[in-house]
Every structure is written in structure tokens, then in C-alpha cells.
Symmetry: C2
Subunit: 233 residues, 2 copies
């Protein structure tokens, strides 16, 4: 296979912790409604509403918050108090302000790789929120391109690669979500490195590819430079 000439990273839960802030809000949400329902049922209903709204809202904190509010009204049959909904909105603002915590080896690995490769971020979610997080991460200067997409399907990757005239076989994507970061990239003939994060949003779950050409798995980003040595420039 030709050498890798372009490396792209997913952002949430690949470069910095993100799912934990959603889990925290969800735990507070279950506590808020504890007098009405079991935690399991609350989680079920929230997930169902979140998934139903996804095609309209897209990914990100704002859509998730609107789904929490909707679920709270539904599960309390409208008895939820204004002050409680105000709390849900306050959690959203906390999530949007949440300090960026880089994953362990990111702060050293990214600047190191940036010396040898053009690096890109490809992420989905709210445009502004993702831009702000990248700015606050301190990593922005190391990336030559930042792409926020509404969905990480094969067609979206194709569009990005076409935009920068990158051949798929020279493109390496790195991320924690098999469904979004790995499978669509392999589908278009690119290569992909799966770096598992300790928790994954149920929506992102997908079967891992087995013995697929151009598919690699590492425990954490600290192993990426060695992998790149191995698969060759």
C-alpha cells in the first residue's frame, strides 16, 4: 500500500474526554426524575427521544438538552417545575463550558506527528461548540484543516478527501467510534485506526471489522507513532 500522506483525527473521546460530560448530565437527569420512574426507564425514554430527534436536531449538546426537556415533561406528565427545567438548561451551559481534558498521550503525540504529517480534525456535532473546544484544547495550531460534518458517512469522508485532493489509500483516520470513524473510511478505500475509549455512546456501537485490509487497533494514541513507523511512510 502507498505511504500515508494525510492523518485525520476524530475529536470527542479521541483527543479529549467528552462522553463523560453527557453521562454526568444523564445521571443528574435520572436523579431529577427519581421520584417518578426507575433510572432504567428514564434512560430508555431519553435515549428513544434523543434518537427520534436526531435527524432533525443533529448531534451535540443543544439537541440533547431539548430531548432531556421533552423527556422530563413526558415522564412527569407535565408536572415538572419551571425551576427544574431551568436546571436542565444550566447543565447544558455547563457542558458547553466544560474544561477540555485531553486524553493522556495527546498533548505530546499530536505536536510530534504534526512535524511529519499534515493533520486534520474531522468531527461531528454543533459547529460552534466543536470550534470552541478545539480552540480551548490548545491543539488548533497543529492541524492544517478542521472539518465539522453533520454526519460521518462514507459520502461525507469522500467529500472532504475530494476537497483537499487526498487519495483515499494515502489517508488514515483515527478515532474511537467504529461506526463513524472506522467503517465508512474503510468503505471508501482509506485506512483507519481504532482507539477504544472506556465508554461509548450506544448509538455509536458497531461491530469491529476483522482482518480488514488497512484496519488497525491500538490501545491509546501513545502507540500511534510506532504504528506509523510500522505501516510505513
Amino acid at each position: 500500500m502507498p505511504p500515508i500522506e494525510f492523518i485525520a483525527f476524530d475529536a470527542d473521546d479521541t483527543l479529549w474526554h467528552n462522553e463523560t460530560t453527557f453521562t454526568q448530565s444523564q445521571n443528574k437527569f435520572k436523579a431529577l426524575l427519581a421520584q417518578y420512574h426507575t433510572p432504567e426507564w428514564i434512560e430508555d425514554r431519553l435515549h428513544a427521544n434523543d434518537m427520534r430527534n436526531l435527524p432533525q436536531y443533529g448531534y451535540g449538546v443543544k439537541g440533547f438538552t431539548l430531548s432531556m426537556i421533552e423527556t422530563a415533561i413526558e415522564l412527569t406528565e407535565g408536572r415538572i417545575q419551571g425551576s427544574e427545567i431551568q436546571q436542565i438548561i444550566a447543565w447544558a451551559k455547563e457542558m458547553l463550558e466544560f474544561p477540555i481534558q485531553l486524553l493522556e498521550p495527546v498533548a505530546s503525540v499530536i505536536p510530534q506527528l504534526a512535524k511529519s504529517y499534515p493533520l486534520m480534525v474531522i468531527t461531528k456535532g454543533d459547529l460552534l461548540d466543536q470550534e470552541v473546544k478545539l480552540m480551548r484544547s490548545g491543539l488548533l495550531e497543529h492541524f492544517t484543516h478542521v472539518e465539522v460534518v453533520s454526519e460521518k458517512r462514507a459520502a461525507n469522508y469522500q467529500k472532504v478527501l475530494k476537497r483537499y485532493a487526498i487519495a483515499p489509500e494515502k489517508f488514515l483516520m483515527i478515532g474511537n467510534a467504529v461506526r463513524s470513524d472506522i467503517l465508512p473510511v474503510l468503505e471508501i478505500g482509506g485506512r483507519a485506526v481504532y482507539v477504544p475509549y472506556h465508554s461509548i455512546w450506544v448509538h455509536e456501537h458497531a461491530e469491529l471489522p476483522r482482518f480488514h485490509d488497512g484496519y488497525y487497533e491500538i490501545e491509546h494514541l501513545g502507540h500511534l507513532p510506532a504504528l506509523l513507523e510500522q505501516i510505513g511512510r
Copy 2:
């Protein structure tokens, strides 16, 4: 001045009606809270909250909806009912599903210009919502590039022009918002056509440039082909 080689359009209220759907929701919101406050005070408070939240939420329906909910709780001192907040969320979904109504001459002018120029859309707002609207508008095929940006500042235009290697003096931006579509483009040495829309969001208000090189004003998009003849290829 060199000939125009690249034409970009704002989307909301330039290609299709948009502000009207926000105004409609705002009118329903004022009616919902009519027993508590005067329409003027409700509008004032909503606008204040919307502006305060803008740096965190960014532009678009979801952020506006969260600001409506927050304002409703605040203005009723928490007495707003769950069913009423559910209504506000239903308006949001209506706004996201609202049928695209093209402005009068757009359906004929855009395909016509697409034969002679590469056309681009540069719009701000929720990424997914803007993509969906463009898809539903039936205009997508006529645009070579679509850029959704978090804010229309000079730096953002510069980034887009750099990405496609477009010289500012060969770039023409067309839009209804002086603050977002006209001034920043003139600032970076591009040219801009102001096409007023009958109503403008207070936030977008700005003084019109007078006698600025590369600034043009037309009554509606139907006059654009003639203007382009006049300022020359």
C-alpha cells in the same frame, strides 16, 4: 478591477424566506405569555437572553428555542406549565420542517448564473439544519461549494477564500445582512451586493456603506445578471 470569477450567496433571507419563521414563533411566544407581560417586554427579554446565549449556543433554531424556554420560565417565575414548554419545542420542530419558500427570482436566476460562474453558498447557523434546507431547496446542484460557518467575520471569509484559492478582488458576495454579508467582505478586499429583505433581525442591523469601492445594491436577485454584465466579467 479584475473580472468576477466566483460568486457566493448567503442563504437565509437571500435565497429563501427564513426570518419570517422566527417572527412567527416569536409571535406565538408573545401570545403564550400574554397573561403575564406586555408583548414589548416579552420581546425585550427574549432578545436579551438570546443575545447573552449566542456566544455559547451559536446561531440557529435549537439555541433560539432554548432561549425561549429559559425566557418563559423567567417571565412566569417558574409557573409555566410543562405542556406549554412542550408547545415551544413543537414550534422548534415546525421551524426545522418548515417548507422552503424560495425568494421570487431565485429559481430562475441561480441556474442561469451557474452556467457562467462557480457558485457557492456561505451561511451561518446549525450545520445540519442549513444542509437540510439547501437539499430541500432544490438548488444544491447549482452550487460547487457549500460553507456553513459559525460566524461571518472577515477572518471566516478569508479562510474560505484561502481554502479554494480565490483572490478577494475576484470574489463577489451577495446577501441581505449588511453586518454579515457585506462589511466583512469589503473589509478583506472583496466585492459585495446588498439585496435587502423586508425584515431584518435586530442583531444583524448595521449601517450601510456609502460610496465604497466594490459595493453594490439591488432591489432583488432578478437584477443580478444585469449588474454582472455591468461590472464585467
